[in-house]
Every structure is written in C-alpha cells, then in structure tokens.
C-alpha cells in the first residue's frame, strides 16, 4: 500500500545470478530464463488473484446483507421495496434490541474478564513448572478444541435438574435449575469460561516463557517481593500477549451464538438473548431477512468500533514492551 509499484525485498534474480564470484560456477549451469520485468512485477498479484476471488465471493453476500437492511425483504414479501432507514428506526426504538445489546455487552465483558484473569493466573502457575503442572499442561487445551456446540450439549446434560450430575455433587436437590431466568446468564458464562480460559492461558504462557530472564534475575537479586515483581515487571512485559488474547476473546464473545443457542436458545424469555441469537430468530425462524440483516449490521458496527480501539491499544503496548516508548 505504501509503495506505488511492486518492490521485491530482494534484488532481481537475473542480476544476482550474474554477480559476484559465483559467475564461473553459474556459467556451467543452465542460465536462468529471462523473465520479463513486467511479469516479475505482476508476480505477487498473480499469486494473490485466487484469494482475492474468494474475498470478493465472501464480500458479495456481505454487501447484499447491507442492502437487505434498507429493504423490507422477507419470505412473506418476495418483492422487496426500498424503505430507507425504516428498519434501523424500528429496531433502534425497540426495547428488545436494547435489551439484547445490554445482554451481549454484559456477556462479552463478564466472560472476557473472567477468562482473562483466570487464564493469566493459570499461565503464571504453570510457569512455575512443577512436575504436576508440566504433566497436566498438555491437557490444558482439551475443552478449547471441543466444538462449542458439543460443549453446550455436554453441559446441558450436566445441568439437568433431575439427573444431572452437578445438582447431585453439590447437593442441590432436583429443583435447582441452572438454566432458569435468574441463573441462565451465569451458567452460559460458566460454560464459556470452561471452553475459552485455556485460550488465554496458552497465549499468555507462551508469552511468559518468551520473556528475557535478566530483568527477573536482577529483581530477585535486589530482593524484590513477588507482588512487586509481578506488578512492575511481569505484567507490563506480558501486556501485549494479554491484549492479543483479550482482543480475540472479546470479539468472539460479542458474536457468541453456538453454546447459547444449544443451552437456552436465548431464553427463558429473553434472559440470554444476544444480538446474534436475535438476528437468527428474525431472519431464519421468522424469515424476515431485512430485519435480521439490520441487526447484524448494527452488531458489526459495535464489533468494528471496539476492534479498532483495541488494535490501537495493542500497537501502543507492543511499542512500549519493545522499549521505544515509556
């Protein structure tokens, strides 16, 4: 983007083949075919063309979806008409939408916060590398690799009030309902934490292990306490890794669908209705494509704004960790 024409990071291969002391040896081998300059300049573009086709193929429905949000298109109305911003007006004045926004944001913030704190804690504990930690470390990623839907099914079986194992273990009897109106939100957060805390943990653990040793040695020699070392040394140096994990988790939690859909389908009532669940119900169950697309467009804007902010934060944190800014 910054250069006006292609700039191979190397010299052109034709020049380098003739250069230097290897020319005698090179002359015995077949000389490389002269590749016309324009073809060399085109090379990266030619390589990227198929991928660009795929991108266009995915952006096309994306654009269609954006157009839907300005129509009154649905299965009951196959000949849509342009309605301007009416979908947006109707959704933005709908209290259900704002409730979904609240649920989505609360869910994303709570789940991401818990996963980050637990993940960092687990990474630091595993970094102490006792025998037990090193043995169990291999199993850390197991919940992360199970499909969120299957995880939802597993937890749904365990949540069952009558014969589910959780009520039995915790002695809650057969009346405690994990997925009731009051509990459902925290139960799905629990499932999300179960699945995705390992994601934060393995990223941060890789980060901690890549930190240079010297500052920690110096701080140990100087007799700094554990907490002081953590706050002044470990945390600032780990910050870029933590931020990468937070970005991934927050973005994914904002568009959470799979586990919630299996566990509660947004219910009871609208207790766990997030924006993607809402859009699914509007566009696929009620077949009101325009309304569903409008929902998704609004979610996309929320995700985009937050992502931009976090990526900027990450750039600054990486610069600071690299020492170019204090």
């Amino acid at each position: 983007m910054t250069t006006s024409k292609t700039t191979p990071t190397s010299q052109g291969e034709v020049d380098s083949a003739a250069a230097g002391g290897s020319s005698a040896a090179a002359s015995k081998r077949p000389a490389p075919k002269q590749v016309p300059g324009w073809r060399r300049a085109m090379r990266p573009y030619l390589l990227a063309v198929p991928a660009v086709v795929i991108i266009i193929g995915i952006l096309y429905p994306f654009a269609i979806g954006a157009i839907y949000s300005f129509l009154n298109y649905g299965a009951v109305n196959p000949n849509p008409r342009f309605v301007g911003l009416r979908n947006y007006a109707s959704i933005l004045s709908d209290s259900t939408f704002w409730q979904s926004v609240g649920t989505t944001l609360a869910y994303a913030l709570v789940a991401t916060a818990v996963e980050t704190v637990l993940g960092v804690a687990i990474a630091l504990l595993l970094n102490r590398s006792s025998l037990i930690g090193r043995t169990l470390e291999r199993l850390l990623i197991l919940p992360l690799m199970i499909a969120p839907v299957i995880a939802g099914v597993i937890w749904k079986l365990m949540f069952n009030p009558q014969w589910g194992v959780l009520n039995h273990i915790f002695g809650l009897g057969s009346t405690f309902d994990w997925l009731s109106k009051e509990n459902a939100f925290f139960s799905i957060v629990l499932v999300d934490v179960w699945i995705f805390t390992p994601f934060v943990a393995i990223l941060v653990l890789a980060g901690v292990r890549s930190l240079p040793r010297e500052p920690f040695e110096a701080s140990a020699v100087d007799g700094a306490g554990w907490f002081y070392t953590f706050r002044r040394l470990t945390l600032p140096m780990m910050w870029p890794y933590i931020l990468v994990a937070v970005i991934f988790r927050l973005m994914d939690n904002l568009k959470i669908f799979d586990a919630i859909y299996v566990l509660t389908a947004g219910g009871p009532g609208i207790a766990t209705q997030t924006l993607q669940i809402n859009a699914f119900q509007d566009s696929i169950i009620r077949l009101d494509y325009s309304r569903g697309s409008t929902y998704m467009f609004l979610l996309w804007i929320i995700v985009f704004v937050i992502a931009r902010y976090l990526v900027k934060l990450l750039g600054r944190a990486q610069a600071r960790a690299a020492g170019s800014e204090v």
Partner: protein, 289 residues
C-alpha cells in the same frame, strides 16, 4: 517442557509452590471433569443412564447404536452420515484453502505490493465478522441458485473460517524464512517457481501442517453454517448432535454422550498432535512460541 531454571534465591519446594500445585489441580478438575463425566455416561447402559453414580457396568453398546441404523431408528438422527459429511466438508474446505491460500500467503510474506495490507486485513476481518452477517444473504442466494444443502455450498462458505487461518499463519511462516535460501536457489539456476516449490515450501511444512489441521478443527467445530445452510444432505455432526437433545418423549442421554465423545474426538486428537504450533496458529501468528 523441561523444568524452568530457578531464579537466584528461589527454592523449588515451598509453601507457595504447594499452593500453586493445588490451584492447578483445582483448575484441571473443573476442566476435565465434564469430559470424563461424558465418557462415563457414554459407557452406561440405558437402565443406568439417569443415575449420577460413578459405579456401573460399562458397555460400548451406545457407540455401536449411535453409528448404526438402530440409532437412526431410535432417535431419527443419522449420525454416521453426518460424520461422513463432516469429513468431506472439512477436508474439501481445507484443500481449497491450501491451494488458494498458500500462493497468497507467499506473495504477502515475500513482497509488499499494492493492496497486500488490504488483502491481509480483509482476511482478518472475516475472522472477526459476525457469521450471520454473511450467512443470512447466503441462505437466500443458496436457495435461489440451488446450493442450499449441498457439500459444494458448505465447502464454499467454510472458506470464511479456513482461509483466514491458512493465509495468516502461513504468511508469518514465510516471513520468518530467510530470503537468502531462495536467493541461493536462484543463483543455482532455479526458476522462481522451482525455488518456491523446492526450497521455500518444504521448509514451511510444519506451518502448513499446523495451519491445515487447525483449519480442519475449526471447520469441524463450526455450527452456524451447517445449521442455516443445510438440511439433511450436507448436515454435519454439530447439527446432528443437537437433535439428540430435542427428541420428544424418550430421552437417550447415554447415546447423546456417546455422540458427543465421537464428535469431539477428531479435533482433540489433531490438536494434541500439533500442540507445539497451536499458540501461533490460534493467535493468527501474533504470538510465536
């Protein structure tokens, strides 16, 4: 992972080390219990499936039922067909992504060309875009052009999952590869294409394997696409498994558990085999370990 060298003054066995071990064990009990419990439930007979005790007489019958016609008769879910469809969809999606993604990743890793940043950013945005944004219009389009409930349609839409992974992971591998190696090959009279195929490509083989397996796992675990864009012919295990729960009347918890274990097994096995490369893959090359 070998034992970390201790810092000056640090001791291996202390009260805080004991506490750390305890905390780790608590996490792993929480983390592994649901999987172990599902495994146990999947080994219970129908008579024992509603008991919450650990003592029972194990049987493999549930697995046999889930994967045979008997399971289809009982639950009206053809799990074996869904399993085969999942394999076809995911392998197809990964192969397409590799064929198209490797050249693009190489181009973006080796050259800074006009639009290369845009290409990479677009790929990344697919990773973070809400799936329904694309799937709802595709639902309409697929129904119009006859791609609804076809494997081709599923492989196409799965590119949204697999392509960004392949391109981002492999670009970071190509960037790490010293350019001198290809230069040396060019000096020896290789063409650019041969230098790429014979020198660069073999050297990033671990990256390709990691990207391919990770892409397979994420395609396998995907739920939204088959849920909306397929009915029966292209329906996958992630959709099939939820139907075990929805059956009215008689409940088959032990069969559900067996199906869950079967569906979870391929990603688990693959993930453990690429554990070394997992961090880099999951973070799209942002964190290298």
């Amino acid at each position: 992972m070998p034992a970390r060298e201790l810092l000056p003054g640090e001791r291996r066995f202390t009260a805080s080390a004991l506490f750390a071990d305890l905390a780790i064990i608590v996490w792993f009990v929480f983390s592994l219990f649901p999987i172990i419990w599902m495994l146990l439930l999947s080994l219970k007979s129908s008579a024992e499936q509603t008991s919450t005790y650990f003592r029972f007489s194990p049987t493999l019958e549930n697995y046999a039922i889930v994967l045979s016609n008997r399971g289809t008769e009982l639950t009206s879910v053809d799990y074996k067909a869904a399993l085969i469809t999942s394999v076809i969809n995911c392998v197809g999606a990964v192969v397409v992504s590799l064929i198209i993604g490797i050249p693009a990743a190489y181009a973006a890793g080796r050259w800074r060309f006009k639009g290369s940043d845009g290409l990479m950013f677009q790929m990344l945005s697919f990773r973070f875009a809400p799936e329904l944004m694309v799937v709802v219009p595709l639902f309409v389009i697929y129904n119009q052009i006859g791609l609804f409930d076809t494997k081709v349609g599923m492989i196409w839409v799965l590119q949204l999952v697999t392509m960004p992974l392949v391109v981002w992971i492999l670009r970071s591998y190509f960037q790490d590869l010293p350019e001198d190696l290809e230069q040396a090959a060019l000096l020896d009279g290789y063409t650019r294409r041969r230098a790429f195929l014979m020198v660069a490509l073999p050297l990033v083989r671990p990256g390709i394997a990691a990207a391919a397996l990770l892409a397979f796992i994420f395609a396998w675990n995907n739920y939204v696409f088959p849920l909306i864009l397929s009915d029966t012919a292209a329906s996958t295990i992630t959709v099939a498994i939820t139907k075990f729960l929805g059956g009215g009347g008689q409940a088959y918890y032990n069969l559900t558990a067996a199906a869950a274990i079967i569906g979870a097994l391929p990603p688990l096995v693959l993930a453990l085999s690429i554990q070394r490369y997992l961090v880099r893959g999951l973070s799209f090359g942002a964190v290298k370990s």
